[in-house]
Amino acid sequence: MSKKTMRLILSIGVIVAILLGACAPQATEAPTAPEVPSATEAPATAEPGAPAEAPAAKPFEGVTINIMMEGVPDTEFVQAVLPKFQEATGMTVNIEVLNYALMHEKLVPQLTAPEGAGSYDVIVVDNYWVGEFVNAGWLMELDEMVSKSQTINLDDYLPSMVEMVGRLHGKTYMIPFYNYAMALIYRDDLLNDPALQEEYKQKYGKDLTLPASPEEYVELAKFMTRDTNGDGQIDLYGSSMMGLRPDPTTMEFLNYLYSSGGRIYDENWNVTINNEAGVKALTLYVDAMKNAAPPGAPAYGFDEAFSTMAQGQAFSYITFNWMLPQLNDPEKSQVVDKCKVVRVPGGKGLLGGWGWAIPVSSPNPEAAWAFIEWVESFEIAKERALLGGAPARADVFEDADVLAKYPHYSEVEQIVGEAIPFPIMSRSPQVVEELGRAISEAVAGSKSVVDALNEVAEVLKGLVD
């Protein structure tokens, strides 16, 4: 017995020794490795973004950069066009694709690493993180690089995108990547169904049309919730909602809030979430969740809400505008060509978006910038948009080829232009977290709407910068 234990302890000791031995050289290598190529390659970065016709000059031969991105369609489109860049520059681009929920907690330790000692050369920044990342000093200023750039001019972007994931405090920290402005996707075939139109008119004394306010939307969603095949079970829901904490429910609710005239904070950073508009919005939201959404919706995330819609079990849902192409994909959806996208009822949706950034801890900022210049150049941005990407550049939105393929993009451009972003502040992720919990508590009924909002208002007060 004691011999066995001894052996065990010894072998653990050996393993520890091996592990420590393995770690040591890595740690010392890390800072030196990236400096060699970046120092020698630096002069060549003058014209890297241009589609380098001369095949002999591969300015980044042997250079590798790492990017962390979310597993979403727009990331797939970047991956799809990436071989061209690798071919032209010789640079190897590793894209690490993660689930959204894992990104923030994996990024933060990398961003707190000393200058040049992190793992990621380029990162994509969600608008919720902008205040936190910039105020903590984790992102490089890009103004000088942008001013020298031949492919990137922030005036080409929609102003709402630049305001959200571009400049902060008068300096450029990000290049807008793609928008995820929220919109209403609804079943046009059901809206134009004569039987439903007749029934609606008899019930409410008015024509069945698209709702113009959150109240009308909830009323319509409740009307659409029904048993269509007469088996006594409801099989069509008015709204495929997502009540999962923290971000799905927060994002969905903010459309109700903004369109009801409410805001989380006013322009002087006073909490206004618990004012009359806030109470009205959350009351409507809870009403919709209870009476117009699938019974499991309080635990739905993006995937579940999408699949309910894609299976034809919902009339509508409030989601990202670029979910429409997904719903028109016959492999994923049973409602192909039946849906349309419009601005959220009441007109003021939540604007979301991602921006490219170079962390201060980036081991190779020159190569990182070369990649951003290329991926955000008009040609590549257009190519990504044609694949189904969600543009951030106005010139891509208005491009004839893009509009020919996606006629609804003129509507989307307006949606993106008018939508309101989440407040940009150091503690945005915490605001999402707290707000998500409060909404979920009101939905679960463990707190009344007023109590939930009043309590969270106290917390939100303390989160202002």
Binding site: M6, I9, L10, I12, G13, V14, I15, V16, A17, L20, H104, E105, V108, T112, E132, N135, A136, Q233, G243, L244, R245, P246, T249, P294, P295, G296, A297, P298, A299, Y300, E304, S307, T308, Q311, Q313, S426, R427, P429, Q430, E433, R437, S440, E441, A442, V443, A444, G445, S446, K447
Partner: protein
């Protein structure tokens, strides 16, 4: 016994042997001790140091001393809810998993049972799966509209509940998934204990005319006590730290119906980036778990001796 040992200790001759033996032991254990110190001891002490300071990741390095991290915990309303949830979860899963696991172990311990190894293999599959897989699979199975569980319930004309969306059901659902996942662990330990019980005792009991329930009560249970103690302790400690299933299945929702202590600590540490407060809570949780373990061990020991 005591008289025999004492004189040998006082004898001068074996003493140097003992000493060199001890030195060898120390030398052999030393590398491991250094390793453990580096990978366990140092981070633990550092976490304790952090727990006494203001340290928010997005606000630069460690700031001033703040023992308030600890006192703050007791006025945290959310933690009260999380603690209640954790206690409900822990008691439910430990009791139910023990009963089911012990029952299955007794069934499988029957040597005349055909296909015993096959049953055991099947029953152990859940244990071999990582919690993230288990959670994701169950999230799909439990989908109220598209999940297969509600589909079959519907075929049988039974109600189709919103397993994770209903605040009254969400915790029960997590308990069910945890039981599915972890019972095989208890089964494995208890079965190993049962198979190592000596047959002679049962033969002797049978000769004395003891029936099977008497055998179970007077032989199996007392002899199994140490094994049961180990199995229950390990499960209890793990259940008190439940995080992964909550993270995947509900994110603590709906409302705060399924928020556990560990999930709350995760939120404070990795969403709020407040390392000081989260370290303080983790330390308090550690102390509570150690105390509970000691109490449980004492109870089990006294049950064993009587």
């Amino acid at each position: 016994m005591a008289e025999l040992v004492k004189p040998t200790r006082n004898k001068p001759v074996p003493a140097p042997v003992l000493r060199s033996d001890r030195r060898l032991r120390v030398q052999l254990v030393l590398p491991a001790l250094i390793g453990i110190w580096l990978v366990v001891g140092f981070p633990l002490l550092y976490a304790f140091y952090v727990s006494l300071h203001d340290y928010v990741l997005s606000q630069g390095g460690i700031k001033g001393l703040n023992p308030g991290n600890y006192t703050q915990i007791f006025s945290d309303k959310l933690l009260v809810g999380a603690t209640r949830n954790t206690i409900i979860l822990t008691i439910s899963v430990v009791v139910l998993e023990f009963l089911i696991g012990f029952g299955l172990a007794l069934l499988l311990n029957n040597k005349r049972l055909r296909g015993r190894d096959l049953y055991l293999l099947i029953l152990l599959i859940p244990m071999l799966m990582p919690p993230i897989t288990v959670g994701t699979i169950w999230r799909l199975l439990l989908h109220p509209e598209l999940g297969i569980i509600n589909y079959f319930l519907g075929l049988m004309g039974l109600p189709q509940p919103a397993w994770l969306g209903d605040p009254r059901l969400a915790m029960i659902t997590i308990i069910i998934v945890d039981i599915w996942h972890e019972t095989s662990f208890i089964l494995l330990i208890l079965l190993a204990g049962l198979t190592s019980l000596p047959d002679e005792l049962y033969e002797a009991a049978m000769i004395d005319g003891a029936n099977s329930s008497q055998q179970f009560r007077f032989i199996t249970v007392p002899l199994m006590m140490p094994t049961i103690l180990v199995a229950v302790l390990i499960r209890m400690i793990a259940a008190l730290k439940t995080y992964d299933l909550v993270y995947i299945l509900t994110r603590g929702g709906p409302g705060i119906a399924t928020e556990t202590i560990s999930y709350y600590i995760y939120r404070v540490a990795f969403v709020f980036l407040d390392m000081g407060k989260s370290s303080a809570m983790s330390f308090l949780l550690l102390v509570v778990i150690i105390l509970l373990t000691l109490v449980l061990m004492r109870i089990m020991r006294s049950a064993e001796t009587t």
